[in-house]
Amino acid sequence: MAIGDLYFWIFAGLALLAGIRVITSKEAIYSALWLLTVFISLSALYIHLRAPMIAIFQVTIYAGAILVLIIFVLTLLTRPDDKMGEFQHNVSFRGFGALTGILSTGLMLVMITGITEIVKKAPVPADLGSTGSFAKYLLNNYLIHFEIASVLLLAALICAIYIAKKDKKAVTQ
């Protein structure tokens, strides 16, 4: 087995194991830590796919920002007495959920294996995914989208502050 294949299997297995633990852990904080494992192993796979920029974004944005935000909110909203690690009580609801996930995954697998026959492996240019070529491609072709994304982030920021703000009327009542 080539070293690249071994690399893929290690991190793919780690991502799958951690993904399953995310949805089966009893404590939400363990779910968050397993989610961190998923993010890091996906970041390793991005390096295997010659996308070092995306790997860095994955670590800084997901593991660094989003997960920290989730853990903050988790510590704010968790009370020691509630049993929030549980699954849905309704058994038929749980069965329906599992069935939906398995069926949709199977369906997509069947559909998409037909597509992969069309995609032939083209020779990979040496600078695919390097910082320079990524920035050139992004700012030459998608400058407007890039600026709109920054406006979207600003809107989300203002919206988040406004929603999470304490309602003064509710406090005085």
């Binding site: 998923v38 749980r94 492996k121 995914g129």
Partner: protein
């Protein structure tokens, strides 16, 4: 030899895990984590297509998905905090304000 099919399989299984997690858990924050798992599965598929087709577009798309994911988490968690003030719980079965 690792082919595109391997990556697509991994990505779809991760997406399926996220779907199941979203449908069977009760804790609203674990639901959020399941959504993140699904978004990450999509990102993995985009990057693997980008590599196997030797095109940069997939990676740029992933950058925009990161933007949307960050906005989604910020607004979603703010809504969750505001809901927690009213209902004092993060059990999604008790979020029935819009149900009639």
């Amino acid at each position: 030899m690792i082919t595109l099919t391997h990556y697509i399989g991994l990505s779809l299984i991760l997406f399926g895990i996220g779907t199941i997690g979203f449908l069977v858990r009760r804790n609203a924050i674990i639901l959020f984590m399941s959504v993140e798992l699904m978004l990450n599965a999509v990102n993995l598929m985009l990057v693997s297509f980008s590599y196997y087709r030797s095109e940069m577009f997939g990676q740029v798309m992933v950058l925009f998905i990161y933007t949307v994911a960050a906005a989604e988490v910020a607004v979603g968690l703010a809504i969750l905090i505001s809901l927690f003030r009213h209902i004092k719980s993060i059990d999604i079965n008790q979020f029935n304000l819009l149900k009639w």
